[in-house]
C-alpha cells in the first residue's frame, strides 16, 4: 500500500533569474491525501498546473514534500534507512511520457533496461542478461533486441522498452506519467492493452497521470480529479465518469469530446482560466470559474464529504 497523507509541495519563486517577476511561493500541491492499493490503477486527472506531475515526483522520491508524508506499507518514507530506500526504489518504478527523451540514445537496450537493477546484490552478468531478455519478451519485443540502440525502434517499441525497464526490478507500483500521449493514435491501443495485460499477469498497481480522459477511463479502477493543487473528487472510476459530483469534474468530463458526431451532449464551457498557483483564490479554488458558485464558496474552503459510498468530493453543494 502506497499512501500520501496531506502532501504539500511549495516551490519558491524568488530564486534564480527573476527580474521583475513577483516573489512568492508556488503552491504546486497543497494538501493532497491519496492511497493506492496493490493491483489497482489510480487515475489522476487534471489540467496543467493542477499538481499531478508534482504528485508523481513525490511518489518517485524525486522531490521531498514540504509537508505531509508518504507511507509505504505503513512506514513513512522520510524515516527510511538505506535498505528501506533500496526496497522502495525497486518496488516503485516509472514510465514517462516521451520515449524519445526518456531513453538514452547512447546506451544499448540491455544497458537501459538493466539500469534500475541494484549494483550490489550480486546478480551475475548472465543472470542480468537473462532477466533483461525476459522482460523484453514480456513487453512483446524480441529477446535479442537487447543488443540494439533506441534509434532502431519506433515510438511504440521505445515505449515498450521503457516499460521493460520499469518491470525489471519486479515492482509492485508503476507511476505512468502520460504513458500514451506522445504516441500515434494507432499505437496507443497497443500500449494501453499491453499495460492492462501486464497488470493482470503480474498483479501490478498503477498510478496513471493523464490529461487524456479516455485513456484514463480505460485503465483506471479509481479516479482522483485534481484542480489547482488540490483534490476535488475521488471515487470508483466508472462511477465518477457516469455521475460526476464536483462542478469541475462535470465541466472537465463534458469538455472531453466523444468519438461520435451525433453524440453532441450538453457541454459546460468554463469561463476564465486556471488560477495562479502563487495566489490561489480564497475559499474553494474553483469558485471564480464555477457555474454553480454560492456566496460561501468564496469564503469557506469546502471539506471532503462522502456523498455516496466510496464517492468523496470537496464541494459546498453536498
Amino acid at each position: 500500500m502506497l499512501q500520501g497523507v496531506g502532501l504539500k509541495k511549495y516551490f519558491s519563486a524568488a530564486r534564480g533569474f527573476a527580474i521583475g517577476r513577483p516573489r512568492g511561493v508556488i503552491k504546486a500541491l497543497d494538501g493532497v491525501s491519496v492511497q493506492v492499493a496493490e493491483g489497482e490503477t489510480l487515475g489522476i486527472v487534471g489540467e496543467s498546473g493542477s499538481g499531478k506531475t508534482t504528485l508523481a515526483k513525490l511518489f518517485l522520491l524525486l522531490e521531498r514534500p514540504t509537508a505531509g508524508s508518504l507511507l509505504f506499507d505503513g512506514k513513512a518514507t522520510d524515516t527510511f534507512d538505506r535498505a528501506d530506500l533500496a526496497r522502495y526504489r525497486r518496488a516503485v518504478q516509472a514510465v514517462f511520457q516521451d520515449p524519445y527523451s526518456s531513453l538514452n540514445p547512447r546506451m544499448r537496450v540491455e544497458h537501459i533496461v538493466s539500469e534500475p537493477l541494484p549494483r550490489d546484490d550480486g546478480m551475475s552478468r548472465a543472470a542480468v542478461r537473462e532477466r533483461v531478455a525476459e522482460v523484453l519478451q514480456l513487453v512483446g519485443l524480441r529477446r535479442d533486441s537487447a543488443a540494439l540502440y533506441p534509434h532502431e525502434f519506433s515510438g511504440g517499441q521505445r515505449q515498450r522498452i521503457a516499460i521493460a525497464r520499469a518491470l525489471v526490478t519486479y515492482p509492485k507500483f508503476i507511476v505512468l506519467d502520460e504513458p500514451v500521449s506522445a504516441l500515434d493514435v494507432s499505437i496507443r491501443a497497443q500500449i494501453l492493452n499491453l499495460l492492462k495485460e501486464l497488470q493482470e499477469r503480474l498483479g501490478l498497481a498503477y498510478i496513471m497521470i493523464s490529461h487524456d480522459l479516455a485513456a484514463a477511463r480505460y485503465l483506471a479502477t479509481r479516479l482522483a480529479v485534481m484542480y489547482a493543487g488540490r483534490l476535488v473528487e475521488t471515487g470508483e472510476c466508472d462511477a465518477v465518469y457516469t455521475e460526476p459530483f464536483h462542478p469541475y469534474t462535470q465541466a472537465l468530463l463534458s469538455a472531453a469530446l466523444p468519438l461520435h458526431p451525433s453524440a453532441r451532449r450538453q457541454r459546460i464551457v468554463l469561463t476564465g482560466e486556471v488560477p495562479n498557483p502563487m495566489n490561489p483564490p480564497a475559499g474553494c479554488r474553483f469558485h471564480p470559474r464555477c457555474p454553480r458558485v454560492m456566496p460561501e464558496c468564496a469564503t469557506r474552503e469546502p471539506e471532503f464529504k462522502e456523498v455516496k459510498p466510496g464517492r468523496v468530493t470537496a464541494c459546498h453543494l453536498y
Binding site: 500515434d184 493514435v185 494507432s186 491501443a189 479516455a214 466523444p258 468554463l270 482560466e273
Partner: protein, 336 residues
C-alpha cells in the same frame, strides 16, 4: 449544422493531385503523394491522420511554404477561386498569405514573437495587407482582438506573449490570422498545446468566428473527438494520401476504408468502459520505402493479393463519400 445552400456554391479551394516530395540523402520522401479535395466557403474540412501522414505538409503546400530546397511541390494544382497558386510569383504569394489564406499553428509560444508586443504583431498584418495607419489601424487591431473575445484588448496591446496564458496566446494568434478577413483559415493542431477545458472554449470561439465571417477552415488534427464535434467533412490521411473522405457523419457512421474502421475501433472513447481495445498491428510505413500497392496493406486485416501490387482507385461509397480501397465497405460498384 449542415447548411445545404453552402453545398451549391462553387468551391473556394480545389486541390488536384498535389504531390510534395522531399529529396534527402536517404532517398525521396513522398510526404504528399496525390492529394485531392475541394472546400467551400464556410465549410470545415478536418484533415486527420497520424504523424507522417502528410497533413501538415499538405497545409504548407497550400501556402507554398514547403521548406526548400529539400522539399518541392512536384505536381498537381491548387486552385483558390479558380486561380492556380502554383503559378503565382513569390511576391504574389506574399500578398495571398495572411490576406486570402491565414494560418494558426500548434504552439502559439513559438508562432508568436517573444520580443514584440501583441499590439505590434497584430498591427503588422493589418498594416501590410490593408495599408492602414494611425488611429484607424489601432481601431482595426482592437476590433480583431475583441472578435476573439480577448478581454481588456486595450491593455493587452502592450503585453508580450509570456504575460498571457496558453489559451489567450492561441486567441491572439487566431486574431492575427482573422484580422484581414481571410477566405481560408488553416488551423494546424490549434488545440494540441491547450488543456481540455480551454480547448472547448477555443473551439467554440472558432466556430462562432467562422459563422460570422464565412471563412472556410482546414482543421488539422489527430484527435477524432475534435473531428466529430467540429468538422463538416473529414479527410483521413495515411502515408501521404487521402484514403477516405466524406461528411463527418458518413465517415463516422459508415467508415469504408479498413484503416478508418480500425482507427475508430482502436481509440478509447471517454463515454465507454472498454474491456479491451482492438489494436492495429504493425507500424506506420517508412515514406522513403513505400510499397507499390496500398501503403496500409501490410497492416490491413482485409488484405487481398492485389493490394500489394496496385494502388486502389477512388471508389464512391455514396455521393461525396470516397475511399481508396479494393475492398471498401459499402462501395456502389467494386473497383475493377
Amino acid at each position: 449544422m449542415k447548411n445545404l445552400a453552402v453545398g451549391e456554391s462553387p468551391p473556394l479551394l480545389v486541390v488536384e493531385d498535389l504531390q510534395t516530395h522531399f529529396f534527402t540523402r536517404r532517398g525521396v520522401t513522398k510526404a504528399v503523394d496525390g492529394v485531392s479535395f475541394t472546400l467551400r466557403a464556410g465549410e470545415t474540412l478536418a484533415l486527420v491522420g497520424e504523424s507522417g501522414s502528410g497533413k501538415s505538409v499538405t497545409c504548407l503546400s497550400l501556402v507554398r511554404l514547403v521548406p526548400e530546397p529539400a522539399g518541392r511541390i512536384v505536381g498537381g494544382r491548387i486552385l483558390l477561386d479558380g486561380e492556380d497558386l502554383l503559378d503565382k510569383s513569390a511576391a504574389e504569394m506574399r500578398r495571398i498569405r495572411g490576406k486570402q489564406i491565414a494560418m494558426v499553428l500548434q504552439d502559439p509560444m513559438t508562432s508568436l514573437n517573444p520580443a514584440l508586443t501583441i499590439g505590434t504583431q497584430v498591427s503588422e498584418v493589418v498594416r501590410l495587407h490593408q495599408g492602414l495607419r494611425g488611429p484607424s489601424l489601432r481601431e482595426r487591431v482592437l476590433e480583431a482582438l475583441s472578435r476573439l473575445r480577448i478581454p481588456g484588448a486595450d491593455s493587452r496591446l502592450r503585453h508580450y506573449q509570456h504575460q498571457l496564458s496558453g489559451g489567450m496566446r492561441q486567441r491572439v494568434s487566431s486574431a492575427i490570422a482573422m484580422s484581414c478577413a481571410p477566405r481560408l483559415l488553416i488551423a494546424d493542431e490549434p488545440t494540441t498545446s491547450l488543456d481540455v477545458t480551454i480547448q472547448a472554449q477555443y473551439l467554440d470561439l472558432l466556430k462562432e468566428v467562422q459563422a460570422a465571417s464565412g471563412v472556410a477552415v482546414i482543421l488539422v488534427t489527430h484527435d477524432f473527438g475534435i473531428v466529430a464535434a467540429n468538422a463538416d467533412r473529414v479527410a483521413v490521411m495515411y502515408a501521404g494520401r487521402i484514403v477516405e473522405i466524406g461528411t463527418t457523419l458518413d465517415v463516422f457512421n459508415h467508415p469504408a476504408h479498413p484503416y478508418t474502421r480500425a482507427l475508430l475501433r482502436c481509440l478509447p472513447d471517454v463515454e465507454l468502459k472498454h474491456a479491451r481495445l482492438v489494436e492495429i498491428g504493425g507500424q506506420p510505413p517508412d515514406l522513403t520505402r513505400l510499397p507499390p500497392g496500398c501503403p496500409f496493406a501490410p497492416r490491413c486485416p482485409e488484405r487481398q493479393p492485389r493490394c500489394d501490387t496496385e494502388y486502389p482507385p477512388a471508389v464512391s461509397v455514396k455521393n461525396g463519400h470516397v475511399a481508396h480501397c479494393w475492398v471498401a465497405v459499402g462501395a456502389e460498384a467494386p473497383p475493377r
